[in-house]
């Protein structure tokens, strides 16, 4: 039986292509390279792993195989076969070289070729920058992905400033951190990004350990309604059911689902729990609200260690599942900091972990008794820093971007 065909069948059955995308697998496919490329293209375009029948339609000679184990098991098997074949090849080549070349040169060649194989045996991914063909394949893949995603390889936010300064968009594998003082609009802002992603046809998933799913749903409806509903009315159930039904029928028709997950404050949630929900719902974007309420997998007792581990584990979730993750983080005020401005990294505990793990960090700050929310980048690994304001009628869900300082003449605030 062909192990490549088995592995592809397992991916189609288990729907966990991320196991392969997070690893060095392209070279492992030789006889079924074209099938693997088709599978990836389909996934990038439709954000779903196709049924095996779809693959068979495109590749008439592809013969699916029965699988009963995890995809990772077949991947290990394929790696083992590939490495065994390569080692045999290296040894045969070395034997023949020894007839004509010096032993030291043969040894050097063997060492180089064997060292190359180690990239299939460990869990880190590497590439050789002098391998232009590999780079071209990557560029073509990114270009194809950008073409189907509306111009950027990731999910665009809908905010001009962010989309311009963060040209990759919220791309697979990215960890985006939204920092803010408690109650200053970071959950609203992140939920809005989820709404924008959903409106573009993606499937967001918000894991909220702070709010009930019903409360979060009210917020989402307010934003999706863009002025149609008031958050205050939704929270009281004070709406016309007929209007709501008619709006929701039109709004949700032929759209992806939008998943809200909550523990209702009852049970501890770790990155492993989140992985389970990712496996269940297969989202395109995950929002974790909020960092301090999660436990790390090791259940560390030290707060610093716990938060550092969570940051690292969230980054790994993003990379291994090949999706962007937004980590909402509450800045913890010490005794010498006020909360009148967007938090700086130096005011955030475990900011070092955020600096290491985040692809982008934004501070979100709502000014008291106003509709003004300031959004300022604190780290952007993929472009320029940015700063802008939002005039946000939170109750009605109406938002306007502003590129002037609304507090220009206010000496107290600025």
């Amino acid at each position: 039986m062909n192990t490549e065909a088995i592995l592809i069948s397992a991916v189609c059955k288990n729907k966990d292509i991320s196991t392969l995308l997070a690893d060095n697998v392209d070279d492992l496919f030789t006889s079924h390279r074209d099938v693997w490329e088709s599978l990836k293209t389909y996934y990038y375009k439709f954000k779903a792993v196709p049924e095996v029948g779809v693959i068979m339609e495109r590749h008439k000679d592809f013969q699916p195989q029965d699988t009963n184990a995890e995809t990772g098991y077949y991947l290990d098997k394929l790696k083992n076969e590939y490495i065994t074949a390569r080692i045999k090849n290296v040894l045969l080549k070395a034997g023949s070289m020894l007839k004509e070349d010096g032993a030291s040169r043969v040894l050097a060649t063997m060492q180089s070729e064997l060292a190359d194989l180690t990239r299939y045996t460990n869990n880190v991914r590497d590439l050789d920058i002098t391998d232009a063909d590999s780079a071209i394949r990557h560029f073509e893949s990114v270009k194809a992905r950008s073409a189907v995603m509306g111009g950027s390889p990731g999910i665009i936010t809908g905010f001009k400033a962010i989309d311009k300064a963060y040209p990759t968009g919220m791309a697979p594998g990215h960890l985006i951190v939204a920092i803010g003082w408690p109650g200053k609009g970071k959950t609203w802002f992140s939920s809005y990004l989820a709404c924008k992603a959903w409106e573009q046809g993606f499937k967001p998933m918000i894991v909220s350990l702070e709010m009930s799913p019903e409360n979060m749903r009210d917020r989402i409806y307010t934003m999706l309604g863009s002025g149609l509903f008031k958050a205050s009315d939704l929270s009281k159930g004070d709406i016309s059911i007929d209007d709501f039904r008619s709006w929701s029928t039109k709004k949700f028709e032929n759209k992806n689902s939008f998943i809200l997950v909550s523990n209702e404050g009852n049970k501890e949630v770790t990155p492993a729990t989140v992985q389970g929900k990712i496996d269940q719902h297969k989202p395109d974007l995950v929002i974790l609200d909020y960092h301090q309420l999660f436990n790390d997998t090791k259940r560390s007792h030290s707060e610093v260690e716990r938060n550092r581990n969570i940051s690292r584990e969230f980054k790994l979730l993003a990379v291994s599942n090949n999706i962007p993750i937004i980590d909402i983080t509450a800045a913890t005020a010490d005794d010498i900091s006020d909360q009148d401005n967007p938090p700086m990294m130096s005011q955030v505990a475990w900011s070092k972990a955020i600096e290491y793990d985040a692809d982008m960090a934004m501070a979100i700050h709502r000014y008291p008794n106003t509709n003004m929310i300031e959004v300022v980048s604190r780290k952007n690994r993929h472009g320029h820093d940015f700063n802008f304001y939002l005039d946000w009628d939170i109750n009605r869900g109406v938002i306007k971007e502003i590129y002037e300082n609304p507090f220009q003449n206010d000496t107290q605030t600025n």
């Binding site: 001009k160 005794d335 005011q347 320029h384 802008f388 002037e404």
Partner: protein
């Protein structure tokens, strides 16, 4: 030259801020506190010490004890300077972002 009234002015300001915040008066031994407050003034100047006292009451320190202010006014001074620098940076960034977005709109 040292102004002997300045420490008392700041102690009075502290008491007023305390009353505003907690809705109750605090009694202090002004003759003892003036030496510590004079040290603050000697370090950062009267006007800055006044700003730092106002800033202190915008922090979330529970009870806002005056002793905490004496021990931490220099750290608050640093944080305040950092916030001021960040505010300038944010304003510059805002202008740059505006330009970036406008350029993008033109294309």
């Amino acid at each position: 030259m040292e102004n002997k009234k300045e420490p008392y002015v700041l102690i009075g300001l502290y008491q007023a801020l305390y009353k505003d915040r907690y809705n109750k008066s605090i009694s202090l031994n002004k003759f003892r506190e003036k030496w510590a407050m004079q040290d603050v003034i000697d370090s950062v100047g009267f006007e800055r010490a006044k700003e730092l006292l106002l800033y202190y009451f915008s922090t979330s320190k529970v009870g806002h004890p005056i002793q905490f202010f004496y021990y931490n006014f220099d750290k608050m001074d640093q944080v305040k300077k950092e916030i001021a620098r960040d505010r300038l940076n944010r304003n510059t960034l805002l202008q740059e972002t505006k330009k970036m977005v406008e350029e993008n709109d033109e294309h």
